[in-house]
């Protein structure tokens, strides 16, 4: 691989990283909230719901089924 190609690759990785950081800055709040919500549901599912033979769904759905 030539030096030019290596630099181009490094520049592309840097550009992608920069774009991802800015993307994360913009969507951080919703991403974090969504992850926390999912984990809450998952934990509740693993400890309570799965034993009732129900699938992983929104909490409202479980309440209706339960």
């Amino acid at each position: 691989m030539t030096d030019d190609k290596k630099i181009r690759l490094l520049l592309l990785i840097s550009a992608i990283l920069t774009a991802l950081i800015i993307f994360y800055n913009v969507f951080e709040e919703s991403i974090d909230i969504d992850i926390v919500r999912y984990l809450d549901r998952r934990i509740h599912y693993e400890s309570v719901i799965s034993k009732k033979g129900l699938s992983l769904h929104e909490a409202k759905h479980w309440r209706k089924k339960e």
Binding site: D3, I7, L10, I13, L17, T18, I22, N25, V26
Partner: protein
Amino acid sequence: MKRLRIGLLAAVALSFFIGQWFSLSISGKAPDGKKLLRDMAPDLNFGQKSGMPLHYESEGYIAFNSYDLVPSIRGYAGPIKLLVLMDRESFIRGIKIIEHRETKNYVHFMESPEYIAKLIGKHPAEPFQQGMDIDAISRATVSVDALAKTLKESSRLAASGVLGINVKDVARAGAFDIRPFVYGVFFIVSLAVYFVTRKTAKYQVARDISLAMGIAILGIYLSSPFSVLHLFSIVLGGFSSSALFYALIISVALSVIAAGRFYCGWVCPFGALCEFVGRLPVRKWEVSKNMDEKWRLFKYIILGLVAALVLISGRLDYGNYEVYVTLFSFHGSFLSWVLVFLMLAANLKVKRFWCRYLCPVAALTGLISREDSGYVSINNCPMGNPTNPHISECIRCNRCYKTGKS
């Protein structure tokens, strides 16, 4: 370069006006205080905001938006707006930070529920002094001070104006802030040394000392390298209470007028780290002139995009990707840290990689650099510049000035 300057200026102006129009059109959709109060105190039923000073009332409690009472108190990048819940004896029973423009890297702990919980139960007659009854947070002194001052003053005014409880206006002991002076002395001495030594390459050690001081003073001690977000904050009307904030902006602006990218070559702590890493005896990659020139424009594109994003959204935190902010605040997302280490390691193979291709401060200072034909870049340029570079790429290291003249 002229076209680039005009294009970027037009993009910034357009973004600003779109942002202003956008913020005006959604001004009626400001955070719903009653909804926030329901989240904070679900058992209480508050009426509409009314009275003088403006406040919400419920049985046994009042609540208010600190910005309605003390709009002039500011942190590093503008006011810190709080929703405060208070009982009839004027003890603080709930706090929510509604809005601020401080850099998250520095204030993430101040926003945490653990930190806020320590302020619950306080009374406006208490001193609200960092290091006494308020926990100080290293690298966030100005923001924490603004939070404490906002909370104390707004609570005091609400207590007297709404509850009729007069709390004595005891002036908080303000410690003399030596930091702007330390920075000012450092900057002026470095600039003076630059001007005295600029026509000779003999005193490169002076620049090395200045760069090392940049890491120690601006990076580690002050933890405040200049960022484009400083400027965007001013454009968005987020004026600061910190003298250091203005010292940074004024010093960089004046130095760009007088000496181009002097800040990058003599003061910037991250630039200094990049340069020192780049001096390690590792074979450098050969960058072809064509590709180098093309990719150097990339930093202007990023600057334009970040300016548009920040000015349209009115959110400074959206544009927070600068590696020196992450490194010297010692806080950032995982991706930010990956970028920091990648940008430092890249200097082993490409001189001042970040400064050449990605740095928004380099783009900004480069755009308005004063022409000086003395710099011809023929003596192992730390920026890897070709001979007779455009002045926007010169960091005034003084290695080539005299050689070019002779």
